[in-house]
Symmetry: C2
């Protein structure tokens, strides 16, 4: 987590190795390097739930995500700016990415009206009315000051028909143009490229719409990185993997690719195999809250089960996280069953470390050329002997 | 937090200095020394809420309290015994005290019947029926394995009349005799005095009943330490201070005195001035949950107040805790307002450190003879210029 230097270094992405479609790289930001593939812990309200920034760093988190919608409502982007920006506010000196708030506006808030101008919505906290336009979202993210900011896009719900997706793609492009222009205007006079704008590629599971959207977005500017949106919204796994393979062929190799909202361990590994570099998901924290954990040899497990009551083994004997080194399953189960916050916290540490170290090991395997075999073995072990979904290229 | 040695050292209490009624001592247990006065963090369900045992040790906690009623219900005392006892279970190698569960049975559970035999109650979790007798409570606490175990007593509600208190005192004595006998029988064959039984002195705010109860209890055995119960249950502060002064004159100087359920910072200091050595209270953790914190120069403050929104000062500039060294008020306020667990956790660290370090400073002041003046200044600063309640002896 190197600190910001006096002269802000530019953003860069260096591809250090590939194996099939899988990529190992380094994404450099003004607040430090992100070795990829990387899972980004989610800090919705400016905090990775239950954890201190020191703990996030200790478990290997390199870049964290924060949420524009939530921070706009509380404490307000102006307050965050006055307090020195998100890095100073939350005491995280490493890279930060803020989402555009679009997903939350469509899923959490009460929508009053969506039109080309923007989205009118009511806060889920106090019902107050607000308008998010592409320009406004750029201004808010400028005030928050993350390294990577996301374009305001329209993500149609899972299962949307072709016409709906076509219209959303069109609006996403229209908004991207406005985001780009406002982003550039706001950056003028800045001492260096202190923020990068990532567009979001939509298109749901329609291959031709995905390809068209990619061409249109790529024609609209030089992007530091690209995000794949509109997946993990209820489509089948087969549709998701095929779509990622289509995107892999359509995106330039020199940009990091952020797959939004993924994921669960096996999904993350399969997406790495299909050329994705950056990931985020609330699953590690949310599952921890309900006592659900990931174990290399056992897959996904709910610790509240009675069989763990007297189990004095480490949660995952192969894990090097604080939770696995310090406590046993019996105690962690007790904390979960009793609804104790410490349980939520300790299981969050484990689940995050699980994804972060898995992405790190995938990286090492790509670099030494053993990714394919390692992935097959890993999935077989984690999912049981009948791993449903072989890795592409693992002929 | 020295570990347990092969030959279990006996319990001892060494009085190292006094100033007026205030006492500085060292209470030695099989799991290490407790420098007194000391505040004991409360770990109701085998966890100091939101904190790891490493954090409790880092903030200076020497002895923690756990709850017999809660651990009996979940995970069950037999499970804790099978898992190696409470120290191993919760990964706390320092001294532990378990309460008797009496207070919780009377306040949390649905009481079915109280008689001389014991108390029949229904679990607040699942409505299951149980009977706590003095003997049973000794057996449960033996299984839990804390260093200090508490006698099962009857604590009448605040404002109880003289007859009710007289009857409760009588029953408390009857139960103490049975606790003592069962405790002795259970300890037979043990390699050393690995547990100490503290009786609870009742009597509410009736001076003569307090004195009678003290005489009766002291006549019933050689006690390693003594607990003062039945205070902090709604009586006036004047009644509490007078009762403590009465007790101070009636209790032997060579035993540590544990004032149950106190407290808040100023109360703790005033109780130290009246000869109390050990304290516990859920206030630090519970207040933290609601954003309420203690600050040396400002007293008790609710951080959610809008005036802290852009306040970049440390929570308490004189505090050495992790929270105060690492974060500012604006961020801590944001966490509290947004209902984030990290807020609860960081404020818990601060509030606990506040009491623990205050008890530590009181100890140093007693030893160097400056306790009286320091206390007066401390209270004036904390409570504002109009400190309501001067310390006794501070003529």
């Amino acid at each position: 987590m190197p600190g910001r230097s006096d002269s802000i270094p530019p953003f860069s992405f260096t591809l250090e190795g590939t194996e099939g479609s899988a990529r190992a790289g380094t994404f450099l930001t003004p607040h430090g390097a992100v070795p990829t593939p990387a899972f980004m812990p989610v800090g919705t309200q400016g905090t990775v739930k239950t954890l201190t920034p020191d703990e996030v760093a200790a478990l290997g988190g390199s870049m964290v995500l924060a949420n524009t919608y939530h921070l706009f409502l509380r404490p307000g982007h102006d307050a965050v700016r006055e307090l020195g920006g998100l890095h100073a506010f939350m005491r995280w000196d490493g890279p930060i990415l803020t989402d555009s708030g679009g997903f939350q506006v469509f899923s959490l808030a009460r929508i009053n009206r969506v039109r080309d101008e923007g989205v009118e919505f009511q806060s889920h906290i106090d019902g107050s009315r607000h308008l998010f336009t592409p320009e406004r979202v750029m201004e808010i993210q400028r005030a928050l000051g993350a390294d990577v900011v996301m374009a305001f896009d329209e993500c149609p719900p899972g299962g949307a028909d072709r016409d709906t997706v076509t219209r959303a793609n069109h609006r996403t492009l229209l908004w991207l143009e406005r985001c780009r222009d406002r982003f550039r205007a706001l950056a003028e006079g800045s001492p260096g490229p202190d923020q990068a704008l990532f567009p979001v590629l939509q298109g749901n599971v329609f291959d031709d719409l995905r390809l068209q959207q990619a061409r249109d977005v790529l024609g609209m500017g030089e992007w530091v990185g690209l995000a794949i949106g509109g997946l993990s919204v209820g489509e089948s796994k087969e549709d998701m993997w095929r779509t990622l393979e289509v995107m892999d062929g359509a995106l330039p190799p020199g940009s990091p690719r952020y797959l939004m909202g993924v994921g669960y361990p096996a999904d993350l590994l399969r997406a790495v195999a299909r050329g994705c570099d950056l990931f985020d998901c609330v699953a590690p924290t949310r599952n921890a809250r309900h006592g659900t954990v990931w174990i290399r040899d056992e897959g996904q497990v709910n610790l509240k089960h009675a069989r763990f009551k007297l189990d004095t083994r480490a949660l995952d004997p192969e894990c090097d996280c604080y939770t696995c080194r310090r406590f046993d399953r019996a105690y962690l189960r007790h904390l979960s069953v009793a609804g104790e916050w410490l349980g939520h916290r300790l299981l969050t540490i484990h689940n995050l470390r699980f994804l972060v170290s898995m992405a790190g090991e995938a990286r090492a395997r790509i670099l030494d050329g053993s990714f394919e075999g390692w992935t097959r073995e890993w999935l077989e072990r984690y999912e049981g002997s009948g791993a449903q979904d072989p890795v592409p290229g693992a002929a």
